[in-house]
């Protein structure tokens, strides 16, 4: 299993062959295997309906796994009710209790743990200071802005010092600027407190900037589990390649395969160099993927490398980069990004150029 990448004995959270079905007909989560070491910030990223929330709910205890085992600190928790799991949780819609003040909201988890009054007050004060909301203890949630409510929700999930905190799209309802501020704060807090975080998001920038590792979900499976840079630069399959960042894809067939290099014959007849990732035999159908910023225009790559003929369709000036759309191998949507340097040529529509790339930048993936 390629996804069991961490040793089971330092596992803090572990999903083992977990399946989940709501209706008994379709599996919403299919064979989930995931191991989290203590202190890791893991993000679950994926399209809507891919089963991220379901996984989180199974971990929190609000849904039961149909099959498989979930372990926390080595202990199976399938039969432990949610309130005994000691997992902090931040909900997308904050779920602050509307009939309690901010301080009472924070006091709630401490009261149910039968903590003394002075200790509670001390912890509440610290937690509020931690999210820079020290002066808001007396307010009702309805009297707070969205961002402030989110901070309180965060403080409430952290105030009882859980070792594991789950966050389901906590910043989904906020505007971009606020989101960036809070992203930074959440990562800072997570690192300062040394807590383990499982974070669900739709937003790939968020996933890439915040996480130690990202689990890309699709169709109830983890498509790839890797640190952000690896995810971006070395996607394991065409879903991940297309889901993360911008990407050019071309369809073709493997015509030569030797070790870590292969030659792919595109459907238009031209041949290109690529890195075999998900292809094993000559004659396999494949989808090759090249990041727009790794394409070189009129390259000088050596004698035996292949290049493609291209025609410039559009040139867009974006400030720090130029974005050029070209017609390549019969497709009109091939994008090339070049940095705005003093010596960078600016192409004009109709111009004919040659395109090339290093073979390791062009990944031959599953079709």
């Amino acid at each position: 299993m390629p996804l069991l990448d961490t040793q089971a004995d330092d596992a803090f959270v572990q999903f083992e062959r977990v399946q989940k079905s709501y209706d008994g007909e379709t599996l919403v989560v299919k064979d989930l295997n995931l191991t989290l070491p203590k202190g890791e910030f893991l993000t679950m990223l994926g399209p809507s309906g891919s089963g991220k929330t379901t996984c989180l709910m199974m971990l929190a205890g609000f849904e039961s796994a149909t099959h498989g085992e979930i372990r926390l600190k080595g202990q199976p928790i399938n039969n432990i009710p949610p309130h005994k799991r000691g997992i902090g949780m931040v909900f997308q819609n904050y779920a602050l209790f509307p009939h309690m003040s901010v301080a009472e909201n924070l006091s709630f988890p401490l009261e149910v743990r039968k903590m003394g009054k002075s200790e509670r007050e001390e912890k509440i004060r610290r937690a509020l200071d931690m999210v820079q909301m020290g002066d808001f203890g007396g307010r009702r949630p309805a009297q707070l802005s969205g961002g402030q409510q989110q901070r309180i929700a965060l403080a409430r999930a952290l105030v009882f010092e859980p070792e594991l905190v789950l966050m389901d799209e906590p910043l989904g309802a906020l505007d971009k600027q606020l989101r960036e501020t809070l992203q930074f704060e959440i990562t800072r807090l997570a690192h300062d407190l040394g807590i383990t975080v499982v974070y669900v998001t739709h937003d790939q920038t968020e996933a890439l900037t915040m996480s130690d590792r990202v689990a890309v979900f699709d169709d109830g499976r983890i498509q790839q589990l890797a640190p952000p840079d690896e995810l971006y630069e070395a996607p394991q399959n065409s879903f991940v390649a297309q889901f993360i960042g911008e990407n050019n894809t071309l369809d073709g067939t493997v015509s030569q395969l030797s070790g870590d290099k292969c030659i792919v014959q595109l459907d238009s007849g031209e041949e290109i160099d690529a890195l075999p990732v998900n292809v094993s035999n000559v004659g396999d159908r494949t989808l090759v993927s090249i990041r727009p910023e790794r394409v070189e225009i009129d390259p000088d790559l050596g004698p035996d490398s292949h290049t493609l003929d291209a025609e410039v369709l559009e040139f867009i000036y974006m400030g720090d980069v130029f974005r050029t759309r070209l017609r390549v191998a019969g497709r009109d949507d091939f994008i090339v990004k070049t940095r705005n340097r003093a010596d960078q040529v600016r192409l004009s529509p109709g111009q004919k150029v040659k395109l090339g790339w290093l073979p390791q930048d062009c990944r031959a993936l599953d079709p």
């Binding site: 609000f62 009710p81 309130h83 949780m89 779920a95 988890p109 149910v112 743990r113 009882f160 789950l166």
Partner: protein, 567 residues
């Protein structure tokens, strides 16, 4: 910018920008773009909108006014209104003012009563007065009826003696000549001639007018004769020229003459009067008091007079006092006799049972509403229809069904006996008592608790309870500290609905309540449709209304009315 037209502050007129600048400079009221105060502009802009809104609600407003506000106002009025006594017995009420409440009143009072009662009997008002006073003291209704039949005999002694003195006293014309204003006599004669000529006897005779001189000459007899003439004309559609006055008028005339009045009467009538003046000292006298006591000896009972005196004011607190088991007596406010104290008990019982019904509705309805709000919409809609199902059958049918189920030989007792929980000779009394009313009304009012609860619970998102559990709360704590407080508005709304509906409920307690399970509303209905004591019914209703309003106020203070939500 050199263009003066667009430079700042170059316009002296009201441009939007200038207005804003003005507003900034002046610390006074904020101005709209046209220079008016913003508040004024705003209210102008809103006026049309308000008028439109008013137009839209006006049909309903009118409807409510006519069918709701006015009846309530009328009810409040009826609960204190008591004009019948002072209107029917005006002379008696006046004469009785100085009576101390000891023994029987003076002869003057009896004479006044005789005059009032003769007139009332002629107008058939004495029976209504009797029923009204009967609410306060039983027996008065028959006393008045009986007296009304015989009261015209009072004064006959005088009538006989006047007629013996001169047969002219038998003639209605004598009296007309004595009392009527000369111009009326002329007008009446014209009218009679005209009617004879046209053979049209339907047009009414001119209204009788008293001769002011006669009024002075006969201070007692003249007003009475005038009243007689009016009654004859209006009630009997007859003419004073053709009817001999009531005996009581003769007695009044006697009183005037014996007191030395009756001077300055001219002509033929003057001669008659002069003769009578000479004769009256020799007349045999008869006291009105004796006359009344002869008709019914109850007139000698101070309690009867006390009742009349106590209720002589046009407005009375008597109905309200009766509603709280007190009564108005000549000696002030007193408790009703022990065996007639029922209303306080009924009010207490109504409140208590309404609270019990409300409580059982909460206990039964809350879990149902909770279940409904947590089910998928399809299922919950189906179940909701079942909740509403009782509304599709008649209230009467449902209540009767409870009779079948709950009676001692009924289904529930049969089942209990069959199971062995209850001995056959010791079957439970489940109907015709408070238990029956509580069971049946809880059933009937349950939907009014479930619906607001359901619609409030529906709006409580499931993630609150999840959040509470994730924070370490046990399912019970999560429910009690997080879910329940948020459902309180629904409980509040349901409780208000159920309580207010049940406090005024009528049919069900009437059918299954027996004697111990009836409500105050049953008593109100009894007074409206059977005893016809509408004043008391109105007072009871007003008290009920006041109790509800007070409870509503207390509720607002404790729970807060903005804490009530129907969804």
């Amino acid at each position: 910018m050199t263009d003066s037209a667009t430079g700042p502050d170059q316009f002296t007129g009201a441009t939007p920008d200038n207005a804003l600048r003005d507003a900034d400079r002046a610390a006074g009221p904020v101005l709209a773009a046209d220079g008016r105060p913003l508040k004024q502009s705003l209210s102008r802009a809103l006026r049309a909108q308000k008028l439109r809104a008013l137009g839209l609600i006006s049909p309903l407003l009118l409807f409510i006014l006519i069918t709701f506000i006015l009846p309530i106002a009328d009810m409040l009025f009826r609960s204190v209104e008591n004009q019948i006594v002072s209107e029917t017995l005006p002379r008696t009420v006046l004469a009785l003012e100085d009576w101390e409440g000891e023994g029987t009143p003076d002869e003057v009072v009896f004479r006044a009563l005789a005059a009032d009662l003769v007139i009332a009997a002629e107008q058939k008002l004495h029976t209504r007065l009797g029923s009204r006073l009967n609410y306060e003291t039983t027996g008065l209704s028959s006393l008045f009826r009986k007296t009304g039949r015989d009261v015209d005999e009072i004064g006959e002694v005088y009538l006989d003696q006047f007629e013996a003195l001169d047969p002219a006293w038998e003639e209605p014309g004598t009296w007309v000549a004595l009392m009527a204003a000369p111009d009326w006599i002329e007008a009446q004669a014209d009218w009679a001639a005209q009617a004879e000529a046209d053979r049209d006897f339907d047009s009414p005779e001119p209204r009788f007018r008293l001769d002011p001189a006669a009024g002075e000459a006969f201070p007692v007899a003249a007003p009475l004769y005038q009243r007689f003439a009016e009654v004859i004309q209006v009630e009997n559609e007859d003419s004073p020229t053709e009817e001999e006055p009531w005996p009581i008028v003769y007695q009044a005339l006697y009183e005037d003459l014996i007191a030395g009045h009756g001077e300055g009467v001219a002509g033929e009538a003057g001669r008659l009067i002069a003769a009578a003046r000479d004769a009256v000292p020799g007349f045999e006298t008869a006291s009105a008091r004796e006359g009344f006591l002869e008709i019914d000896e109850d007139w000698g009972n101070p309690e009867v007079w006390g009742t009349i005196q106590s209720f002589s004011d046009p407005y009375t607190a008597g109905y309200f006092l009766s509603s709280i088991d007190l009564q108005l007596t000549p000696n002030g406010v007193e408790k009703q006799p022990e065996d007639q104290q029922i209303y306080i008990l009924l009010f207490q019982r109504t409140l208590f049972m309404s609270l019990v019904i409300m409580g059982s509705c909460v206990l039964l309805g809350y879990p149902i509403a909770f279940l409904l709000s947590n089910l998928p919409l399809r299922t919950s809609n189906l179940l909701l229809i079942l909740v509403l199902l009782p509304f599709w059958t008649s209230l009467l049918v449902r209540t009767s069904a409870w009779k079948v189920l709950l009676q001692q030989q009924g289904v529930i007792n049969d089942v209990l006996v069959w199971i062995g929980l209850v001995a056959d000779n010791n079957r439970l009394e489940l109907i015709n008592n408070q238990t029956g009313t509580i069971i049946a009304m809880t059933h009937i009012l349950l939907p009014f608790m479930i619906l607001p609860l359901y619609s409030v619970m529906k709006t409580i998102p499931p993630y609150y309870v999840r959040a509470a559990k994730s924070l370490g709360a046990t399912p019970f704590t999560a429910f009690w500290r997080v879910y329940f407080p948020q459902s309180v508005p629904g409980i509040g709304a349901g409780c208000i609905l159920v309580f207010i509906l049940s406090i005024g409920y009528y049919i069900t307690p009437e059918l299954v309540g027996g004697t111990t399970g009836t409500f105050i509303s049953n008593r109100i209905a009894y007074h409206i449709s059977q005893s016809l004591n509408w004043g008391l019914a109105a007072a009871l209703g007003s008290i009920l209304l006041a109790v509800v309003l007070v409870l509503y106020y207390i509720y607002d203070k404790i729970v807060g009315i903005d804490n009530v939500s129907l969804g």
